[in-house]
Amino acid sequence: MTSESNLHEQFFGQEHLTVIEPYKGLFDLKLRELWAYRDLILLFVRRDFVAQYKQTVLGPAWHIIQPLLTTVIFTIVFGRIAQISTDGAPPFLFYMAGTVIWGYFAGVLQDTSGTFIRNAHIFGKVYFPRLAVPVATLMSKFIGFAIQFVFFIGFLLFFMASGANVAPNGALLLLPILLVMMAAFGLGLGVIVSAATTRYRDLAVVVSFGVQLYMYLSPVVYPMSSLSEHYRTLMAFNPVAPILETFRYATLGIGGASVAELTIAAGVIFVVLAIGVTLFNRVERTFMDTV
């Protein structure tokens, strides 16, 4: 590259070259383009976060109240009444761990699954990489998760101080990986649903209900150890299971998943994400013709 063209780039920035062609189905995250629109993504995150709790009395406190209430209910229903095993951990912490990390996955899945329908009016009028919307959802949901996680750690320390038998350990270093996996899986499933809802509106209804059912198919309110061998084999197909188990192992020192299980989960998640993004990119180019 000559110094002259370097100079040109320095002054005028890289030349934007857009080629518009019929859709070619490829798995393409368009990371470069998403990066160029990073300001928009951050503004979407801000919008989601600010607008969500405007005109509510308790505001962002809902981020805490929701999982806390859920945990209390779970503790009563599954811990006291049903007396499901918690692998020896205090039931409150067991259910809170499950609720917090499951909540992140469920939130991402539910919100991203409405991407096309909820943003049809914007998508019909202006172009930006459509993935910016679900990616922003990932991030705004992450803020909620972070707040909840801090509270969870607070409870954990409190229980430890009062002598509960829990043992947070070095596996906590895996937390970023677990979160990336959860986010990728939620995003992957979410965009598959969002792409499908452009054609089948019914799916939008099914999602919230489906997420709830899925929670019971995952070890959120029960540990893997309470399952029979047969069901445990079936769980190998559920990538959420080893993530939940590892999260509880890292924070409470119970349960756990093997590296092999986590690797398989990562593989499944990657495939789901790839299918999701491919479908999403396809729908992105023709969505406006079908509404």
């Binding site: 934007h16 070259l17 857009t18 080629v19 607008a51 009016h121 914007i122 202006v126």
Partner: protein, 433 residues
């Protein structure tokens, strides 16, 4: 020599209307199930076989070839459904073409609507950033122009108020202000100037003209021929998804306004499918005839001439199938495509709005003196329907169905020289003794 910034090669866009798929999974499944058993599609419209063009297949764009040079301001004109909006949508990457390609050099900003993504709960300032980012500006860019935008919108007092407390006029002003400060290398604008008050529109057009003079390229679609002519120097005329003609915008506007009519001679014009907004189960205007009250059928008149216009009405069937009343309306547009006069049947004594079934097939409107300055005009007309509560709705609209010319002569032999204004009126002059 200016370089090419947009080059479009054989661009086509194909739509399948109606059969894109059911809205629900159930419909698609039963459709699939029917196909498996060789039964007809249970959701096909009655009387419509799924063959060939009957399926509602439409080439919204067909083999468009186009080169746009840097700094050009190109007006895109054409009738409804000619493909203008589709072209802009493809170039804005909102929808993908079916075949062909387009290469664009430079940052594109498209303005198919103002205020896209405005959130009512956010303040004016927050919305400026959000809307700016949606339109492709970076945060730094918006920050730099923030003061200018707020000043342009004339609303520095309310900038930290949530947008939901704004009046609709204020919201539009703010949205325009953001849009007007968009400075991409290529700007695509569709019809957005149709909203907002006139003075503010003018301010925006001025701002855009300023942008254009800085060597930016603009693609502009509007039904308002006047703003197209004011802003653009070159244009393309689209018809049925194809480029019918390219050239100077003034020539194209003239061609467009003339081509809109189907002149059968003797002052008669026939309605064609191109004069859109026609529905099969309602009464429609099938043609009109222009007549000089004394000289008979004609399309050229003089100032002050008395004229009569016959509207031929076609009813969907002999029987009145809708229990509603109808009345006719028409308007006269000048050579810029702007309406200058409009007439409604229900303003007159003859507006005994009758049941459709009793409607005559011809109704006539008489204008005692054509108070229009010399020039080319076109007529758009249509029908209103009224429900039991007297609420009216336009059921038929034939755009630019007929053309007429007003000459320079005045009835008494003098000529009517060129003067300013859109309409004329008789005026008596007196000199004080």
């Amino acid at each position: 020599m200016a370089r090419t910034v947009i080059s479009v090669e054989n661009l086509s866009k194909y739509y399948r209307l109606g059969v894109i798929g059911g809205a629900t999974l159930r419909e698609d499944l039963s459709r699939w199930w029917a196909r498996m058993r060789n039964k007809p599609d249970p959701y096909a419209t009655i009387g419509q076989e799924n063959t060939g063009n009957e399926r509602g297949e439409i080439w919204a764009l067909r083999d468009i070839n186009l080169e746009i040079k840097e700094g050009e301001i190109l007006g895109v004109i054409g009738r409804n459904g000619a493909g203008k909006s589709t072209l802009l949508k493809v170039l804005s990457r909102i929808t993908a073409p079916t075949s062909g390609r387009a290469v664009i050099r430079g940052r594109v900003g498209s303005l198919l609507e103002v205020g896209t993504g405005f959130h009512p709960e956010l303040t004016g300032r927050e919305n400026i950033f959000l809307n700016g980012a949606i339109l492709g500006m970076t945060k730094a860019e918006v920050s730099r122009k923030l003061d200018e935008i707020v000043e342009f919108a004339e609303m520095s007092n309310f900038i930290d108020t949530p947008v939901k407390r704004y009046s609709s006029g204020m919201t539009v002003r703010l949205a325009f202000a953001v849009a007007a400060h968009l400075e991409p290398e290529i700007l695509i604008i569709d019809e957005v100037l149709a909203v907002g008050d006139a003075a503010f529109q003018k301010k925006c057009l001025g701002k855009m003209g300023e942008v254009a003079s800085k060597g930016r390229t603009i693609l502009f679609v509007s039904h308002n021929m006047e703003s197209v002519q004011r802003l653009c120097n070159r244009g393309i005329l689209l018809a049925k998804g194809q480029v019918e003609q390219m050239g100077s915008v003034n020539d194209l506007v003239a061609i467009y306004l003339r081509s809109a009519t189907v002149d059968c001679g003797n002052g008669s014009f026939v309605r064609t499918a191109e004069h859109t907004r026609q529905s099969l189960d309602k009464s429609t205007i099938s043609g009109i005839r222009l007549r000089h009250c004394d000289r008979g059928e004609s399309t050229s008149f003089d100032v002050w001439d008395p004229i009569e216009i016959d509207f031929l009405i076609r009813h969907p069937s002999e029987e009145p199938i809708h229990d509603e009343s109808i009345a006719a309306w028409f308007c006269i547009n000048n050579s810029f495509g702007s309406p200058v006069l409009s007439f409604f049947q229900y303003d007159s004594e003859a507006s005994t709005t009758r049941r459709m079934g009793d409607w005559p097939s011809i109704i006539t409107a008489r204008i005692n003196a054509l108070e229009l300055p010399p020039g080319q005009y076109s007529i758009s007309c249509g029908l209103f329907s009224f429900d039991e509560l007297g609420k009216r709705e336009i059921v038929d609209w034939a755009e630019n169905i007929a053309g007429l010319e007003v000459g320079w002569r005045v009835a008494d032999g003098r000529t009517f020289d060129q003067r300013i204004g859109y309409v004329i009126s008789r005026c008596e002059w007196r000199i004080a003794a």
